[in-house]
């Protein structure tokens, strides 16, 4: 069925089709990675192909080959009902898994052609470290951002242990949000709130709350704090009005 597609491809991009085969009935074309985007757009727009269903994009790692990675894309046409597999071999043998900043392996993104390629390409980037040029939002998807290495590469040991990561900094939030937002047990004063200006202010405003401060400490600090609070507040009022 999809012989038509392969023939159309051969006609249009004679030099860029490196190899074709139909093993187990799946028609496959290995193409020049430089023409990856162009060929994809042709498959989508040409009326003989009309590949409007995006199926899958993935990669296979062959560390022994000269071109290490094979990007594999599967497409289907709804009207014509045919399928085709498109492959491109990229990467050099010395493109070692350098863990970070290994952007030697690159290919064009097909996200402008099929929006569905977005997450699939992110996954390939996450798992293999293949960089897709022109991808709108290329970041890790299944792994966390601090993950080191690319797990589906053949030289990534399966039993490798990842380093522990630091607690991420929570971005500044306005009250009533904070680090312990949403926790019922977090809605109380903790030790680390003692020096927090907001807490001091809150305590000053409501001296009758017995839980927060011992009675002996209450009076004197409260009045002092109140003065401080009014001083603080004063400059902020004109801002509000404006």
């Amino acid at each position: 069925m999809s012989i038509v597609v392969i023939d159309a491809l051969k006609q249009r991009f004679a030099g860029a089709i490196l190899e074709t085969h139909a093993q187990f009935g799946d028609d496959t074309a290995v193409v020049d990675p430089d023409k990856w985007f162009e060929i994809s757009r042709f498959l989508r727009t040409d009326s003989r192909c009309a590949m409007n269903m995006f199926v899958d994009i993935t990669a296979v790692d062959y560390p022994d080959r000269e071109q290490r990675f094979e990007i594999v894309m599967h497409l289907r046409s709804l009207e014509r009902g045919h399928r085709v597999r498109l492959k491109a071999r990229i990467g050099d043998p010395f493109g070692e898994a350098d863990d970070d900043d290994d952007d030697t392996v690159q290919i064009d993104s097909v996200t402008p052609i099929w929006q569905g390629a977005n997450w699939f390409e992110r996954e390939v980037f996450d798992m293999f470290g293949v960089v897709f040029r022109g991808h709108p939002d290329l970041r890790r998807i299944l792994m966390y951002p601090e993950f080191k290495g690319f797990p589906l590469r053949k030289d990534y040991p399966a039993n490798k242990i990842q380093p522990l990561i630091e607690f991420r900094k929570v971005q500044e939030k306005l009250p009533p949000f904070g680090p312990d937002e949403g926790m019922s047990f977090g809605r109380q004063t903790h030790e680390y709130h003692r020096d927090d200006p907001q807490m001091i202010e809150a305590r000053a405003k409501k001296p009758k709350s017995k839980v927060l401060l011992a009675p002996s400490q209450q009076k004197a600090p409260a009045s002092q704090q109140k003065a401080a609070v009014t001083q603080q507040k004063a400059p902020s009022t004109p801002q509000k009005e404006s």
């Binding site: 899958d56 599967h74 709804l78 929006q115 299944l142 709350s209």
Partner: protein
Amino acid sequence: MEPLDQDLEEGELEMPADPMSLNLGPSHPAMHGTVRIVVELSGETITKADVQIGYLHRGFEKMCERGTWNQIYPYVDRLNYVSPMLNNVGFSLAVEKMLGVTVPERSQYYRVALGELARISDHLTCNGAMAMELGAFTPFLWNIRAREMIWDILEEETGARLTHSFGRVGGMAMPPSKYFKDMVRATLPRVLAVVLESEQLLLKNRIFLDRLENVGRISKEDALDFGWTGPCLRSTGVPYDVRRAHPYLVYDRLEFDVPVGSTGDNFDRFMCREEEIRQSIRILEQCMDQMPDEGPMNIDDPRVVLPEKEDVYTTIEATIQHFKIVMEGIKVPAGEVYSYTEAGNGELGFYLVSDGSGTPYRCRIRPPCFAITQCLDKLIVGAMIPDVVPTFGSMNMIGGECDH
């Protein structure tokens, strides 16, 4: 943060001018599946959404590269843990496509029957959970009751309620039990009755309908563009069903309709699933009539199928064969294959690469709900927070499958 017992006057509060960002999940009672959605709100309207998955990532594809072909079955069970039998069948078909073998007729019918039972339970769970998240608890219990009846059959057949690991390359682990057909025939009308009851509770409910209709709409073209398949794609009006478009097993001999929706909103997705339950029941009824009672379950190829246990203990040939299959694995010819079946959520694809040894070189799964979930942010932008719950529920995102 100020204490709760503080009386704050509204005028003293500084209202933020920036859009409020809200974090839903990764573990949220109103969402099934571990997914995190970071939304930016303007009032109650979502202006920006970022869907983050990966909380259930277990390195399925890496694990597959370490064992033999048959050792992958427990892993595929845990991909879509609501309908594991469909994954079992899908993976079996992929390996068999590489080996170039076809299982006997009886086995094909058996696979279809078990697969359709799993599909019913998948759709029941999805629709029930979605109704529950919208506050309708009773239909959920009703659907689970029906699912329980199906799981009883599966338990009787496979020995496990959820993770069956029942498929094998070249056949099934066991032939159908003696009363398989009777059990299915007796259960189907009961399931149908329960489905009808739970449907009646929902389909005339104003609240339920208001929250589904015209919420989370997607056009036909967009759905295709995003790689949607299964009930979600059919709800937009595209009659694409792998069972119909590229028939496998014995689906070409069975009569069934492919239900399609018209608008592609949450309600259509819900109704497509409801109708597919009925169609699966139809398929099962025909299956029970056509399935032969006698005949082999597995292909007759000692290189692929384990010999009978009795022979293993009594003859040296079978012992050696057993040893070689278990220790070295099946020798699948070198090459690559992409095989696709219709799972509960859509086209479940397996892209396998073999180097001729007993271990897969690469085992790639194309999870249907991965493609569907990537569209979630587009659907909820412009909607309100309460719309996230039914939209996400109707997509039937399965964490195990989506996160590999």
